[in-house]
């Protein structure tokens, strides 16, 4: 397929373009292979930065694995300097806690865009080695 930009496909000049051309998506039918894994995170006892992005990003997927049952004491999500969610406790298990997106890597989830910064912080009771999976695509 020829490289048509999403911008031109959409017929819109002001929209943020999330891929350089349609090939980007065509070659990524399953997003799972594009995820980055951050393993051995220790967030016991204090609110710990799990993922910090500076700049403009599209975050397609974000989830944790290897957590014990209900071990998350506290978590906070700050986007563009604004706390959009903060709560004590969150149900969890060892197969995955999805903030958004799923482990099967489906493009169906639209994710979220941050304009200048994205910060996910977590605190656990006992788990000192869990994993974070994410896909954050830089955009300008």
């Amino acid at each position: 397929m020829s490289a048509k930009t999403f911008q031109s496909l959409a017929g819109h000049q002001g929209i943020n373009k999330l891929a350089v051309d349609t090939d980007y998506f065509e070659t990524r039918g399953n997003l799972a292979g594009q995820l980055t894994t951050v393993a051995a995170i220790n967030a016991v006892g204090s609110l710990t930065t799990v993922l910090s992005l500076t700049g403009k990003f599209h975050i397609h997927q974000l989830f944790c694995t290897l957590l014990s049952t209900n071990d998350i004491d506290h978590w906070k999500l700050t986007i563009d300097g604004v706390i959009i969610h903060e709560e004590d406790g969150m149900s969890s298990n060892n197969t995955g806690v999805g903030f958004w997106g799923t482990q099967d890597g489906d493009w169906g989830d639209h994710g979220i865009i941050c304009d200048s910064s994205f910060l996910l912080e977590m605190e656990c009771t006992a788990d000192n080695s869990f994993s974070l999976w994410y896909h954050a695509q830089p955009i300008l």
Partner: protein
């Protein structure tokens, strides 16, 4: 503030995770199509690139095959070793988005 390690840092983008975490770098960096890559080059850069095929042979082979260019260390090194691009310019070329491409169109 907990210590952090930087996974990616460009003039406009930065990704940080806990300092002690173990990173699986597989597919961490975005890929860019060859068409988009060339569109972003200035006419002078495009000309220089064509004239320095030997210096960046591996990259050129990828480009000739029409493969996606992955922003890995090898590609970065090839581009900067060629003397045609600064590391900052490589970041600019590889970042996905409309601004860079639009500017050079």
């Amino acid at each position: 503030m907990n210590k952090l390690q930087t996974l990616m840092e460009t003039p406009t983008h930065k990704i940080e995770v806990p300092a002690n975490a173990i990173i699986n770098p597989k597919n961490f960096l975005p890929k860019i199509s060859t068409q988009a890559f060339f569109r972003r080059l200035t006419p002078q850069e495009r000309q220089s690139l064509r004239g320095n095929g030997a210096a960046i042979r591996d990259l050129k082979e990828d480009l000739d095959r029409g493969d996606l260019v992955e922003l890995d260390d090898t590609v970065r090194q090839s581009l900067t070793d060629s003397g045609l691009f600064t590391p900052e310019r490589v970041d600019e070329l590889m970042i996905l988005g409309e601004s860079t491409e639009g500017k050079l169109r």
